[in-house]
Symmetry: C2
Subunit: 190 residues, 2 copies
DNA sequence: CTGTTTACCGAACATTCGGTCAGTTGACAA
DNA sequence: TTGTCAACTGACCGAATGTTCGGTAAACAG
């Protein structure tokens, strides 16, 4: 049953892997073809071009994140609990869709595709930032650090996971999320 | 006394700025020339080429970090205190040399220059990792999270500062370091 | 004024880039 | 056996890439 060749999905999968190794701009269609074991032109049979490949990958990351913040558990309840849930789910999505999210986190805004992704990402950030602000207003997070700064540092920590996490080696995503929450919420000092 | 033109230093300064905006691979010598207000060829009068520009920038970041971990305060005393000092200084260096460190944190390893920088960076990481492990052995950091993981998350948070910090707007580097330490060491929950 | 040096320009270089297209291949259906 | 068609190749395109080079205007030194 195994088809010998590729399809749009397998091309995207391989492409995203190479994009993350070399960087999007540092990856040529020739590099991509080599990784797929075909010629450059074969890629264009399955996929319209390089930038669309990027676009599809970024959408995959963003769709995951937006689906999450659309969930009831991100929208009702005590802000600190919603925040905890969002952090936990963010780590999970990062782990599930690792290469796609990694790509998203490295976007510069060099093309319409990238600019669009950046805008959606900022929208996500605004949602989280509002959550932190609410939790601070509730008196559930320390008042001596600016909520905007808390948001950036907290999600800086979460997002940094993309730089080193390997699903094969590292522990389960759940354990990872647990570690993040322990450190960020309760601190690493005994 | 002010010369009208550029010199190697001013070219590097501008170049690093553009590299960070567009990404190193996403920046052409033409982009660079435009930012400098000269032609492409003029750049080669001041500087040997694109990759050397990168190399000099990366060295500037790495030299700062290695100078720090060479300091006495990173090498003697209680591990947890040394760790705190290293975090504080890391934030300071990141703020001082922001564009250079930002560039370093985005390196992929696509050229000998980048591979060399990556290796030096890993050496820095090993130093910090050893510090955290020592502090854990001393019983000064929570024992329920793997020290290697603590290192990555802690410095993931520190390094994420490069993605948004603007010396003009954001508060002082000292205040920033203080916020990082509060969250990471004592947690953001009240 | 003359000669030299500094800082640059414009044109061109070879190479690589993303992308196109006419044609080939091989599995399968009739 | 023949015809179809999805999957692919190889040759090629114009544009963009990093870099080189011959020339030159302006500042300066004698």
């Amino acid at each position: 049953m195994k088809k010998r060749g590729h399809d749009p999905e397998s091309v995207l999968h391989t492409a995203v892997g190479v994009f993350n190794e070399r960087g999007y701009d540092g990856t040529s269609m020739e590099d991509l073809a080599r990784a797929l074991g075909v010629t450059k032109s074969a890629i264009y049979y399955h996929v319209p071009g390089k930038e669309q490949l990027l676009g599809r990958a970024l959408d995959r990351a963003l769709d995951g994140l937006f689906a999450m913040i659309g969930d009831e558990r991100a929208r009702s309840g005590r802000a600190i609990d919603r925040l905890e849930w969002v952090v936990r789910r963010s780590v999970a999505i990062l782990a599930e869709r690792l290469p796609y999210v990694t790509l998203l986190l490295r976007v510069h805004g060099n093309s319409p595709t990238e600019l669009g992704a950046l805008e959606r990402r900022r929208e996500f950030d605004r949602f989280v930032s509002a959550l932190v602000k609410e939790a601070a207003a509730d008196g559930d997070v320390r008042p001596d650090v600016d909520p905007a700064l808390v948001t950036r540092l907290l999600f800086g920590m979460v997002n940094s996971i993309a730089e080193w996490y390997q699903p094969a080696r590292g522990g389960s995503p759940d354990a990872l999320a647990e570690a993040v929450l322990k450190i960020a919420f309760d601190g690493l000092r005994v």
